[in-house]
């Protein structure tokens, strides 16, 4: 084998070594580096999170309790008919107490599940009274029955007299929320 052949052989050997040893090693290192970066970032994030653990635990407890309490505040609607009667009764009573008259109360649709163990159903309520009694009645209702959400309102005065005691008719679309199960919360 001549010297130039030997040299060629050497060059071929070196190229082969680069192709089959050096490059794979470099690839492997690049992968390792990427993994290292990821893991290090994860460690940093995790440590930051762990540092906040006491605060987080406290917050979690508080918020979970609050969520439970708020959910518990909704009335039990597992007995659909009873619930409807109860709600309707309460609305009529509150409004009547403020001197209004409920001229129409009609449930608009079947109850619908709304997540978080809550079901909602809409109703249409026509109320006649004066501006003053209507306002007081609705505000009182909002206070006493926080599970009622007012969707839509239409106020029509019955005559053209000025003043607070003008008779008027208020049409409300309301959405009544209730617990589907006996226990609610998480």
């Amino acid at each position: 084998m001549s010297a130039s052949q030997a040299r060629l052989l050497w060059i071929a050997g070196i190229l082969a070594a680069i192709q089959f040893v050096v490059l794979p090693v470099l690839h492997y290192q690049a992968e390792l580096r990427e993994e290292l970066t990821l893991v290090q970032r994860q460690v940093l994030r995790s440590e930051a999170l762990v540092e906040q653990l006491p605060v987080l635990t406290l917050q979690a407890e508080k918020l979970a309790a609050a969520a439970q309490r708020v959910a518990g505040a909704f009335p039990d609607a597992s007995n659909a008919t009873g619930f409807r009667l109860e709600v309707q009764d309460q609305i009529q009573r509150v409004l009547r107490e403020q001197g209004n008259q409920v001229t129409l109360f009609s449930w608009l649709a079947q109850p619908q599940a709304a997540g978080n163990g809550i079901q909602v159903q809409q109703a249409r309520v026509n109320i006649s009274g004066t501006y003053k009694t209507l306002a007081e009645g609705q505000l009182r209702l909002a206070q006493q029955a926080p599970y009622i959400r007012f969707i839509d309102a239409s106020l029509r005065p019955q005559n053209r007299d000025p003043g607070q005691n003008k008779p008027a008719e208020l049409t409300l679309i309301i959405e009544v929320a209730g617990r589907t199960g006996g226990t609610t919360g998480e």
Partner: protein
């Protein structure tokens, strides 16, 4: 170096010259070595190679030739072929009018061993010519005497003194200089300094060509320790590869270990966070079903304001994010302006053109966008049905 007597000119040496002086050796025609700056002979240690060697004028034969070969490489090849195996150095000059001046230096046998032992060997006349001004220079020191004629163009020639050429005038004639050529003599101190200056000024080309001449006969490939170099590079590469891979592996493992060690705390934290998120979502969801008392309040405020502004509301329709008032009254634009100043009003505008009626009243419709309320987002508040 055993005993050194510094020449008087030593203190005037520049920095580079002192540096050169440390490495520059000189060999006379009888093969005696000494440092260039030393006055006494001192053979270098046999094993050591001399870094820079200047060979006395008597130690070589100098020949000038002209070649009309443009390529320096080609010319070098021609010269190498011609003088193959002979103890010569070639200094190829710059291309000038299509010609190249070539100085061929043929070492005498006496100095040959010393020359072979040097990394870079210069003929004395070449170095001196780089130092002196144009003119005839007569060098006379330690039994050697020769003349050097340097033309104003830079070309030079030298001639050892002999019985025939003993005086400067004779030398001028022999070298072909005109009678008006300025002349100077160098004694040994001035000569020594001139050589140092010459080494500094001789130019990179001369250094390179001397180096190449010195190493032409011994082929580069044989001389350079290729094998150890390759082995070293290979070993370094492997060690680097191993070390860097090892570092990466260890760093990754330690990071993973760290992650593992806080795993349980992390799980707790994550579940706590999940609880927080869940609870927040639940609260937000529940809030959507809670009474929107603030919006109800806003609606009735707009009705109350319509009363204070003395307008007659024919109908008020609201979806609790906006209120549309259809009304009659005096000064519709004034009413709108007043309403816009209320803090529960986000924006308000007429939805239809204002119509004036025969009775002097204006009929108009105003749509009020209510200020967004936060009445539902009260997770902490106690809400009792």
């Amino acid at each position: 170096m055993t005993t050194t007597t510094k020449t008087p000119s030593t203190p005037t040496l520049t920095g580079l010259q002192t540096y050169l002086a440390k490495f520059a050796w000189w060999v006379d025609a009888r093969g005696n070595q000494r440092k260039l700056t030393a006055t006494t002979l001192a053979p270098a240690k046999a094993e050591r190679r001399l870094p820079i060697l200047v060979v006395a004028r008597d130690g070589y034969q100098e020949r000038w030739e002209q070649f009309s070969i443009r390529s320096e490489r080609e010319l070098k090849r021609v010269l190498t072929l011609r003088d193959a195996g002979q103890p010569v150095q070639h200094y190829i000059g710059k291309l000038h009018n299509g010609q190249r001046q070539v100085l061929t230096v043929r070492w005498h046998d006496v100095v040959l061993a010393t020359v072979r032992n040097a990394y870079v060997a210069f003929p004395e006349s070449l170095v001196l010519a780089a130092a002196v001004d144009a003119g005839l220079t007569h060098v006379q020191q330690s039994g050697s005497s020769y003349f050097l004629l340097k033309q104003s163009g830079g070309h030079w020639q030298s001639l050892p003194a002999s019985g025939l050429v003993a005086t400067s005038d004779r030398a001028l004639l022999a070298l072909g200089g005109s009678a008006a050529t300025p002349q100077q003599r160098l004694d040994s101190d001035a000569w020594r300094l001139a050589l140092l200056t010459g080494l500094q000024k001789v130019g990179l080309d001369a250094w390179q060509q001397s180096w190449q001449s010195q190493h032409a006969d011994t082929s580069n490939a044989d001389n350079f320790p290729w094998r150890p170099t390759w082995v070293g590079v290979g070993v370094l590469t492997i060690v680097y590869g191993l070390l860097s891979t090892g570092y990466l592996v260890m760093a990754t493992e330690s990071a993973e270990h760290r992650l593992e060690s806080i795993r349980s705390d992390l799980d707790t934290a994550l579940s706590a966070q999940a609880t927080v998120n869940n609870a927040q979502q639940t609260l937000t969801g529940l809030a959507q079903h809670q009474s929107n008392i603030a919006a109800v309040d806003q609606f009735w405020q707009s009705i109350a304001d319509s009363q204070t502004l003395n307008i007659l509301v024919n109908s008020a329709v609201s979806d609790y994010s906006s209120v549309t008032l259809a009304a009659e009254g005096v000064g519709a634009t004034n009413v709108l302006t007043e309403l816009l100043q209320r803090d529960y009003v986000d924006s308000a505008d007429f939805t239809a053109p204002v119509r004036s009626q025969p009775n002097g009243l204006e009929r108009f419709t105003i749509e009020i966008q209510l200020q967004p309320t936060l009445d539902a987002d009260v997770p902490e508040s106690e809400t009792q049905p």
